[in-house]
């Protein structure tokens, strides 16, 4: 079951997860004649070990679908992988059969859900649920599995873990339940953790604790994290690389400092401007719409004159360049080294293909020797 030999050799310079031009669409089962909804339309991102990739964007922009696709958790039908690949350590998980993907789930890639209150089965004790996952993926006896579960519970900071294994989910508070979820996800020592808004349902202090915990675990276990969130504060504090998504496409991809210092895409700028600042006294905040509807926002990129214009579904009049192919209007373009922005696929952008987004960057505290 466990590929224990591979566990040790997790080269920090080899990508853990490469999502390449992934496109996922859904049909509407209640209206079969209606067109398919393109939830994800050609997404690219890369996660390295010991790295946190934050995926931000509004609800419905395809963050979760991207993450779930890498475990084949997207229900099919109605979902469908239209094109693209999701390479986990070089293997395309989208092509795994049921048996292989089951061995991958929980073992190599684990997932934390955003709602700790409903993510645990109320019928079984915490211990039952963690131990079941361990027994499934690791070739251990029941007693060993319990020890591993105790260790995992201890790791996430649950006091008196041995007794708490016998407790039921309703006996835990939300924060504790989220810790249990994380303990469950971590019990099998996954190489990649998909954290789908892990802190949304929690209060700020618990939020900080959980994120700190994830960071700690990353430091000790070399784990890669894909952190899906709406919270830009969380991103600023925890992410190494940020991927901003809109309407199923990546609109900006950069390391966290570059992005926060100098957002290049109007949408990203709109997001930042809509955050209230403590020291600013404003009558009202600038909305994202105000930014993206302003034509002046679209001329700021290097190479504007060559046709490099930030992509937006319905841009203000006059900024949209001539497309190389009317059916494909978006392309992710490396504007400057290690900065990617989603732009219109003009002749110039099409004829100068850039490399796919791939950043090994980590914050100083997680830096690895090259």
């Amino acid at each position: 079951m466990s590929n224990s030999q591979n566990d040790q050799v997790l080269d920090p310079n080899v990508p853990l997860l490469e999502v390449r031009d992934l496109a996922v669409s859904f049909s509407n089962p209640s209206a079969p004649t209606s067109p398919r909804v393109q939830a994800v339309a050609g997404v690219n991102m890369t996660v390295y070990p010991r790295q946190t990739l934050a995926v931000v964007g509004e609800s419905g922009c395809g963050k979760s679908v991207t993450a779930m696709s890498t475990m084949q958790l997207v229900p099919r039908p109605p979902g469908r992988f239209d094109r693209g690949k999701a390479l986990f350590r070089g293997e395309n998980v989208l092509e795994f059969d049921e048996k292989r993907i089951r061995a991958l789930r929980g073992n190599d890639i684990a997932m934390i859900f955003q709602e700790p209150m409903t993510s645990l089965n109320p019928v079984y004790s915490i211990g039952d649920q963690i131990v079941e996952a361990i027994l499934l993926h690791q070739n251990v006896e029941a007693e060993e599995a319990v020890e591993i579960a105790v260790k995992a519970m201890d790791d996430v900071g649950i006091p008196d873990p041995r007794q708490r294994l016998k407790a039921y989910p309703h006996q835990f508070s939300g924060g504790m339940r989220q810790r249990v979820m994380i303990a469950m996800a971590l019990a099998c020592q996954p190489k990649l953790l998909l954290a789908d808004e892990p802190t949304t349902a929690l209060d700020v202090t618990i939020q900080a604790q959980i994120l700190e915990l994830l960071r700690d675990l990353q430091r000790t276990k070399n784990m890669g994290i894909m952190l899906i969130t709406h919270n830009l504060g969380v991103v600023a504090e925890n992410a190494d690389v940020v991927c901003v998504m809109f309407a199923g496409r990546v609109v900006e991809y950069a390391n966290v400092f570059d992005l926060f210092d100098n957002p290049l895409h109007p949408y990203t700028r709109g997001l930042f401007q809509s955050i209230p600042m403590l020291r600013d006294i404003k009558h009202r905040l600038t909305t994202v719409e105000e930014v993206v509807e302003n034509p002046a926002e679209y001329v700021k990129l290097n190479g504007f004159e060559k046709g490099i214009v930030p992509w937006w579904p319905d841009p203000p009049k006059g900024v949209k360049p001539e497309l190389a192919d009317p059916d494909e209007e978006h392309v992710l373009h490396e504007i400057e080294p290690n900065r990617w922005v989603g732009v219109f696929r003009s002749e110039h952008a099409a004829s100068h293909p850039s490399r796919v987004p791939d950043l090994k960057y980590r914050r100083p505290d997680l830096q690895v020797e090259e």
């Binding site: 958790l73 929980g106 499934l136």
Partner: protein
Amino acid sequence: MSSSESTTEKTISGIDVMRGVGVERARPFWADAWHRVVIRRGAQLGLIWIGIIGFFAIFAPVIANGLPLWTRELSADGQVIASYSPLFESLTPTDILLLLGGVLGTILFFLPIPMGKQHRLGLISAAALLSGTIVVSVATLRYLLVGDEVTALSQTVGFKWFLTLGTSLVVALLLFWLPTFRPIWGRIVFTLLICLFTGFVAADRWTAPVLNPERFIRGQEDGAFENTFTLVPWSPTQSRPVFYSREPARTAADAYRLVAENRVQDGVAFYARAIVFNLKPDADSLPLNKGTRADLVQLLTGDSGDVAGEESCSVRLASAGVSMENIAIFEDLAEFLSDYSKAIVALDPELAVTAAENVVLVSDELVPSGRNGRITIADAGAELEDKIAERIEYVSQAEAVASTNYGQRDFILGTDPIGRDVLSQMLHACRLSISIGLVSTGLSVLIGVIVGSLMGYFGGWVDLVLSRIVEIFMAVPVLFLLIVAASVLPRNTYVMMVIIGCVTWTGSARFIRAEFLKLRNQDFVQSCRAVGLPLHSTLFRHMLPNGVTPVLVQASFGVAAAIIAEATLSYLGLGPYGQSSWGKLLSLTTGETGIFLWWMAVFPGVAIFLTVLAYNVLGENFRDAIDPKMRKAAH
């Protein structure tokens, strides 16, 4: 507690709980659900009644049996030749396994050993499942291979051992995955042990001897046997002609006496009618019409039926115009006839002869209607004398029976029109009632859960196809299917259970489907998949317990419905052969005789009513206990 009452209630903070102070271990899900159900009064009463029925279902063969619990065969000079238990020898494999299971299972469950109650319950259920599967498979295979007849093959020693032990091993092989013990060798040992034992019992009881209870009773009367009988010493099939349609709370001797009295009474009544209907009517002194004839018969048979406020027969006859002389003759006749019956009951043939002669003498004073009338009256008088010995024989036989232990036996709930004890039949019918309800509903829930979970979890075309199948099955009327099946298939309980189970699963399938449609989008189900659990674990280990409670409620009503169906079928005379059943008892209420026997209607009727009520009340309480609206939010 008294000291703490003065102080305020002690509380602990969440921080204390974090530190483990005052933390109580939470009840597991099922234990909690069970607790919530049993704290309700209605559920308690229902469970108690079902418990009583279950107790008799297991122990009826040793509580109500016409065979002695223990018998000692004596030789002519009082020496004990042999001593054995005819009752034990006549038990079927099912009886033995149920008795053993009932006793050992109860002991295991309440024994103070460090083993979880749930685990013990699991072991008992697993053992029951294994044994039940083997017994049913052996019976089915035997039926298929050799049929009901006793053939050379069925009597071959090798064949019976091959069949029973072979079946046990196959069942053990198929079911060794039952989660009885965690280590695999524990499971194998447990499964093999149970299976081989069951196989051994089935082979040992290949043909249980058919012992006649009457043989032991006769033997006891002759002094050849010394018997110890059970609490209710009647087999459900045991009968004597004298016991036909006896009322409740009568002894066997009462039944014999009643028969003897009836014979004497019938003789007197025969004579009375012969006289009254063969007299010459005389308008002035003896007007004979319908009314006076009836009054005369009444006067003669002593069955005066005098009710306070009503005139006596004589007064009525007088007012009807019968002369006083004639009335005096008839009163004399009545007196001698009553002397006659008293003499017979007193076993005094001489007095009886005198009384009979007096009757003939007195009746000579009356004028017969003609030659034929004279002959008829003379014949009746002669019959009165001739039958004295025969009638005394009946009475003395009744007295002889009354002096034996047999005569002291009670028919607590009376007998049916063919003389079988009602109580014994009712106790033996408990097994049918329990098993038909549980097995058929168990089967229907099993099918319903599998089909429903697939429908609910996958949706799409799976749901579409299976929903149509569900609709097809919903259109099948169970009772009519059972009636049709009774005419083409073997009429036994298994067929009935299978039919009920295979047709009534649609309800549970639809409940489970609805629950799974809700559950499949829940985070914990997503999380099950994200952890990589296989489909069967996600469906049946994680989703099912969260969605099965409505089905259990429905199953509880289903059990009641199955019992009603069986009772209805038995009432219609289409029930299983050779098995007592409450419905069959009900159908004998008016029996072949057409006389209404109230005890045959009341007791089985009450039993059916209470059992169905118990299951329904249990279902209601279960529903209330698990209803999320009535439950405070636990999470």
